[in-house]
Symmetry: C2
Subunit: 181 residues, 2 copies
Amino acid sequence: MKYCSSCGALVTHEIPDGDNRHRHICGACDEIHYKNPNIVVGVIAEWQEKIILCRRAIEPRIGYWTMPSGYLENEESTEEGAQREAEEEAGIDVKMGELLTVINIPQIGQVHMIYLGQLRSPRFQAGIESLEVQLLAEADIPWDQLAFPTVKLALQHFFADRQTGQFKLHSEVLRKPAKPG
Amino acid sequence: MKYCSSCGALVTHEIPDGDNRHRHICGACDEIHYKNPNIVVGVIAEWQEKIILCRRAIEPRIGYWTMPSGYLENEESTEEGAQREAEEEAGIDVKMGELLTVINIPQIGQVHMIYLGQLRSPRFQAGIESLEVQLLAEADIPWDQLAFPTVKLALQHFFADRQTGQFKLHSEVLRKPAKPG
């Protein structure tokens, strides 16, 4: 950030009175511009023991696999956001279930909230952000072709919990996300 | 947002190619400026059946009570954020526990994540954002003097769960937050 989004003047980067962190502050209108972490929402959507994965048609990690997920938008709840991503990326209609993981990645300011879900029908169709969509059994998950460490972690928890018959919330912090490639 | 924070030119508010929502787009450098929901983190910190509440010294809702909570900052996890707020607002050292509530407030773009916690010692001290801090038994909670609907909801879940002896995650959506006052 170089310019104030309210008045267009140059901003400085300093600690405001009564604060303890550097913020962008407008030199003209004094507005303080805060920048906070973003939420990524997603869903592991199941149909008869299989789950939906999408092969990404966009960067980063084009060609790699992920559950439907994306940034939470304003004016939607976290569950609604995950449901929307499922519809947009995989063309699926999901009955949302419990929250499975909260994965923090502090270095990049992201909190990933991945939910359980059940397909209402076995219909699916790749959206414009997906090269393809598949319903995959555990044995067919492309573990070495997953797009992000968060995807792998959430899927590991999902299959481990499913084996025990009891899903629970997993809170994780990824300190150094693996480099792509 | 009126001006591009990268180049200072005027922004327009329209739907970018391949998107389905209005965004602020720079007319000069073409940057798309996304605005997403914020995370509020907090903790219900317990010491021998009592919990820590703070009376707010800042607007909004000055003079009303809340558990320690505030916006998640970059470069910290949600648990670390809640722990930091506890230290800043109540001067307490908290051993963090499980996530108790995820409360969505879509209209104002907030997701409140309230954790369980245990004080490591009974020491507490009001920080600059608190008028006072108290360790309160359930019978002494000022239910009609709580700062926000999210505070009431989280405390209700906490005491109800504590009575059953089993804490679980509560996911909530507040569609129309009560007006202050």
